[in-house]
């Protein structure tokens, strides 16, 4: 391509006597055009990354008073901070409760929405997608009202079925279920749309051939759709892993509960750094979180690759 350009420019030069444009000009504008991203990323991406590592080796408060303490922050975090480990456990259990049913439900919805005979597809698609545009703050507020213990509509619904009202804010499982419900409500439609796009890319001939061979819809779903969709499923698993590890606003607004059952890793980081102002310790949390997220993403990738229907 570079050579081609040069040849071309020379030809132009000979023919029209226009000034020959050297290659260097192309390179310059190329770098110039991509520079805003890299400059901004250097300031708000790379520098914070490195500085977080530096901070984490210090005792550092909001006034900037600092004392080098080596790996003490990490030591304390890994060996002497049960609350941190609790937040890790909570984050993972909320992730499992919200993501597994979320992705399965999205896949089923997408499969149904992809059926040729279905009418009013557009309306159903719009309806299931609508929650995704709602802000996380609004979702947390609405669901806090709905999951109210005394007058919440969900408990009212339970009593209609003859069940006892459930203490959503006070119990371990209740709080995690309520937070997971918020996450699910917001993200099922998003994943459905992505799966639907993937399904539309699968040739109809394959399904017709399967039907001729006598495969039922369920068999087609399990043995044709899921294997063909594996790359897209992998993509959504990674996205929801990254998203799930960042859950923060939901427990902040819903309340994390008396026994910290809603305390997530990011909420813990936020509180250490911005309500207790221990920047050094917060930075150590940030790095440990990063490592956990990377390891967990790799684990999920491995798992999704291995799943063979």
């Amino acid at each position: 391509m570079v050579e081609h350009n040069t040849v071309h420019s020379e030809a132009v030069d000979n023919k029209t006597k226009k000034k020959y444009r050297p290659k260097i000009h192309d390179a310059l504008s190329g770098y110039l055009f991509i520079s805003p991203f890299f400059i901004l990323f250097a300031i708000f991406g790379v520098y914070p990354l490195i500085f977080t590592a530096y901070l984490s080796l210090h005792k550092w408060n909001v006034l900037g008073e600092r004392e080098f303490i080596g790996v003490s922050n990490y030591q304390a975090l890994l060996t002497n901070d049960p609350l941190f480990w609790k937040s890790v456990g909570n984050t993972f259990s909320i992730w499992v409760i919200s993501t597994v049913p979320q992705l399965i439900l999205a896949l089923i919805l997408a499969f149904i929405l992809n059926q040729a005979f279905l009418k009013a597809k557009g309306i159903f698609r719009l309806a299931v997608f609508m929650p995704n545009i709602t802000s996380v703050v609004a979702v947390a507020i609405i669901f806090s009202a709905m999951f109210g213990t005394n007058y919440g509509v969900i408990n009212y619904g339970l009593t209609l079925f003859g069940l006892e009202p459930y203490d959503w804010k006070g119990s371990y499982l209740g709080t995690q279920l309520a937070i997971s419900a918020m996450v699910m409500w917001r993200w099922v439609g998003y994943n459905t749309i992505i799966y639907l796009a993937g399904l539309q890319g699968i040739s109809k001939d394959l399904y017709e051939a399967a039907t001729i061979d006598g495969a039922s819809k369920t068999q087609q779903f399990l043995y044709l759709t899921i294997p063909l969709m594996r790359p897209i499923i992998l993509f959504t698993v990674i996205l929801s892993t990254i998203g799930g590890m960042q859950i923060f606003a939901e427990p902040l607004l819903f309340g994390r509960g008396a026994s910290n059952q809603g305390l997530t890793m990011t909420l813990y980081l936020y509180e250490e750094a911005f309500t207790r102002f221990s920047f050094g310790y917060g930075a150590a949390i940030a790095w440990v979180l990063f490592v956990i997220i990377i390891l967990f993403s790799l684990f999920n990738m491995f798992l999704t690759q291995r799943i063979k229907s």
Partner: protein, 278 residues
């Protein structure tokens, strides 16, 4: 002609399932208005009010007394609009460079850009706050605007679109006519990628409108609050008055809901293109 496999699944069941999913998706919106338009005593009883009541305006006025609703709406508007314009410009410019200009280490830079998407934003939260505070930007809108002015997803999205929609011949022809790269971008690329602008624009606008963690960290003073932070303040300070809180939440959700209903095609297209191409 009958569709393939039609007889194997009872259609009726599928419609019930979809309707049920749609009702669950829409119900919280409805419920927000039901609570927001009733009084506290109507809401706090068994059975609770299940239909919208007459008190929405009253609840709304209480919201206006307690938070600077329109001030924070304006802040959100300024932040989202500026970020969106900046993102469209910088991302399309960089996308154009990655798609159509040759320069050394281009592939390296592009892969680097994609890799940055994997870095979780919490990791640099504390130093980013320290930078903002050193610049004296705490409580100022540029603290949120500047870091959001260009992002990796936008560059990636624009690169994919420009690579497939601008023919190389057109580039060559413009070069023969003596156009510089920026003139090619401005006069040829920009008019040709309007659909991509619409798609990326709506996604960016929604994301910055709904952003929460970073504004919460850097915008502490009331006068600089975005609508999301203002709602959180309302929720924290008056936990018992759900009708008032939900009236505020409803008012804050309506603008974005209207924007979405108008542009939903571009929005959905953006999400699927981003996913399927990567």
């Amino acid at each position: 002609m009958r569709e393939v496999g039609e007889k194997k699944v009872p259609k009726f069941f599928l419609y019930i399932f979809l309707t049920f999913a749609s009702i669950i998706s829409i119900f919280p919106f409805y419920w927000m208005f039901v609570i927001g338009s009733n009084t506290n005593s109507e809401v706090n009883k068994i059975p609770p009010a299940l239909l919208p009541g007459p008190n929405f305006v009253e609840n709304m006025q209480k919201v206006f007394e307690r938070i600077d609703f329109f001030g924070s709406l304006l802040n959100s508007f300024i932040i989202s609009t500026t970020i969106t314009i900046a993102v469209l410009f910088f991302c399309s410019l960089a996308g154009f460079a990655f798609a159509k200009i040759d320069f050394k280490y281009k592939n390296f830079f592009f892969i680097f850009l994609l890799a940055t998407m994997m870095v979780p934003p919490q990791l640099g939260l504390i130093p980013s706050f320290m930078i903002i505070s050193a610049l004296g930007w705490v409580d100022q809108l540029q603290a949120v605007i500047v870091p959001g002015m260009v992002n990796a997803f936008g560059v990636f999205f624009m690169r994919q679109y420009i690579a497939s929609s601008i023919p190389n011949d057109l580039m060559e022809a413009a070069k023969i006519d003596g156009c510089g790269n920026f003139r090619i971008y401005w006069n040829i690329v920009v008019p040709a990628i309007k659909p991509a602008f619409a798609t990326l624009g709506i996604i960016t606008y929604m994301n910055s409108w709904n952003d929460f963690l970073w504004p919460l960290v850097v915008l502490k003073d009331k006068s600089s609050h975005t609508i999301q932070i203002a709602l959180r303040t309302l929720n924290d300070a008056y936990t018992t008055d759900y009708p008032m809180i939900l009236a505020g939440t409803f008012l804050a959700t309506i603008p974005i809901l209207i924007v979405f209903l108008i542009f939903n095609k571009q929005f959905i297209a953006g999400i699927t293109e981003g996913a399927v191409k990567s």
